[in-house]
Symmetry: C2
Subunit: 332 residues, 2 copies
């Protein structure tokens, strides 16, 4: 008694991970449809040892489907929502298309799993930096409400897709070889460089990625009183997002209690060797499911303030894994 599942954008960086996450979590799949643009159709991908041909995404792709995982950009998600609804197929959408719609739940299953049940045909997968941040902060917020977070991010190439990961590697090799290299995916040279997150600027001086962290936090935590400030930076790392989080609580929360809460929280792994100044690194998290937390410090410069170092695989917990977890929360 499984489901007919479709993945729209199956050949992208996130799509490929979705296939593997379904397999690894033994999601009950009776049939898996891999969908992509005509450019990518015809290739085959492996699921549970079975070769599946990628077919062209169209209006009929969802007939008979129970679940469609979308990771093909906002415009594609918008284009096919009605087709999914007509087919009675739940869309779990990794784009930002519906995230802030009032009737669309925005879900991090460790934080607000109950919201997944109240969908109107689509569940939105939050922004990757937001998922990673809130997986770590929610257990603390439940104990002592958070007043304000100052976040500085160290974001990987994968957030801009597979082509950005390739560009980082190729641009870096060219740099080492002393060769010219013109970036085409990202706006600036990436080799041994970093730059503000390449999303459109808003009026207030924040970029879209930063405002996602502000707005999505309020919606997921169902709390508009939490202040969030974010500086989002792309660093030359392949697939792990790291975040330095300075968190002011409304009352005291001890470092010891924070560790205890996080060690017992779902989806989190505390990884550190304090005396050795060894904390989670992108290489630890790449290809792994948990959100890694370490370096919880009492910040003496402000009352009721702790500082955390948090990271997670952008393609997994930041995207594919969270999407499959949303489907589990809604359907299983």
């Amino acid at each position: 008694m499984g489901f007919i599942v479709a993945i729209a954008g199956a050949t992208g960086a996130v799509g490929v991970e979705m296939i593997q996450v379904l397999e690894r979590r033994q999601f009950p799949v009776d049939e898996l449809r891999l969908l992509a643009s005509p450019r990518s159709a015809g290739t085959t991908l492996t699921y549970n040892g079975q070769e599946i041909e990628v077919t062209v995404l169209d209006e009929n792709s969802f007939d008979g489907c129970d679940l469609a995982l979308f990771s093909a950009g906002s415009s594609i998600s918008k284009k096919y929502l009605e087709a999914c609804r007509k087919a009675g197929c739940l869309m779990v959408d990794n784009s930002s298309a519906f995230r802030m719609d009032a009737d669309t739940p925005l879900v991090v299953p460790e934080v607000n799993p109950e919201a997944a049940k109240q969908h109107n045909g689509v569940i939105a997968n939050p922004n990757c930096t937001t998922i990673i941040m809130l997986t770590a902060l929610a257990p603390l917020h439940r104990e002592v409400p958070i007043k304000r977070v100052v976040a500085a991010t160290y974001q990987a190439a994968s957030g801009a897709g597979h082509a950005a990961m390739v560009e980082l590697e190729e641009g870096t090799r060219a740099y080492l070889d002393g060769k010219e290299f013109t970036p085409e995916v990202l706006p600036y040279p990436y080799a041994f460089n970093l730059f503000a997150h390449n999303s459109p600027m808003e009026e207030n001086g924040y970029c879209e990625e930063e405002m996602k962290m502000v707005n999505e936090t309020a919606k997921i935590m169902n709390d508009t009183t939490i202040g969030v400030h974010a500086t989002c930076v792309r660093v030359p790392v392949l697939r792990t997002h790291a975040e330095a989080l300075n968190v002011e609580f409304t009352d005291e929360l001890s470092v010891e209690r924070a560790y205890e809460l996080l060690k017992n929280a779902p989806g989190i792994e505390v990884l550190e060797d304090r005396d050795a100044n060894r904390w989670p690194m992108p290489l630890d998290a790449a290809g792994k499911d948990p959100v890694y937390v370490g370096r919880i410090r009492k910040d003496p410069s402000q009352k009721n303030t702790l500082d955390l170092w948090v990271l997670g695989d952008q393609l997994l917990k930041g995207a594919a894994l969270n999407a499959v977890q949303c489907a589990e929360a809604a359907l299983l």
Copy 2:
């Protein structure tokens, strides 16, 4: 009427920059002595088109000298301070050996140049991240006192010396070639990775680099009321340190006024194209003198708070340039 100048640690990453800074700023040098350990002695370096042989640093190296720029580690600075004093030679020391000594001025010439005159034979060059941060913050603090800074850093390999820069490049090439690589200079693999600043941990959970930002800020700004919280992270960048600074002031300071102050401040260049989401990047600053500032934003999550993106060449303003500027402030 010039000076006899010595550079201790002349063959190191900072030492080599010191030679070039002296030349570029036309510091009045009558004689330049390049000093290093026996291992590096015998090589020649060029100053003003003149080949100078590197000689072994010893007790007699400073006889007749007016100025010695030290960048050879704390123990070497401590070992030769008395020799410098006896010779009547001013030491400008890039190590942390004397920074917090009550009778040693700790100087960023754009911030507290007057302190350079009150030396007792040695002027301490501050920590690189602190220099870069305070060059940008001092003009704002003079207008409206700062209450608290939350800093997250993106620090380059150069802070760990030339060997770390080479290790970053070699480790990255090995990664791209799929070859094994064991880091020997830095504690962790650096290719497409990042990790907490590799300085010893203190009791409070902060590493030494972070506590330098706290303690040196109080001394340089001559103000113990400024709260500083820092998270220091090494990113795979060669020689520019970047810093995300969230700054709470004691009263309102507008974004416009902050830009005006920084555009007119010494040692600073405002570099940005707001609409294009284009801010200073490590590649902009590498090999350049100024501290680059951009992305000044009003932080709506807290009263009287601005956010800045600041970066500077770690070897220049973070070390060699600031040291030569200290000598200028004291001697010229």
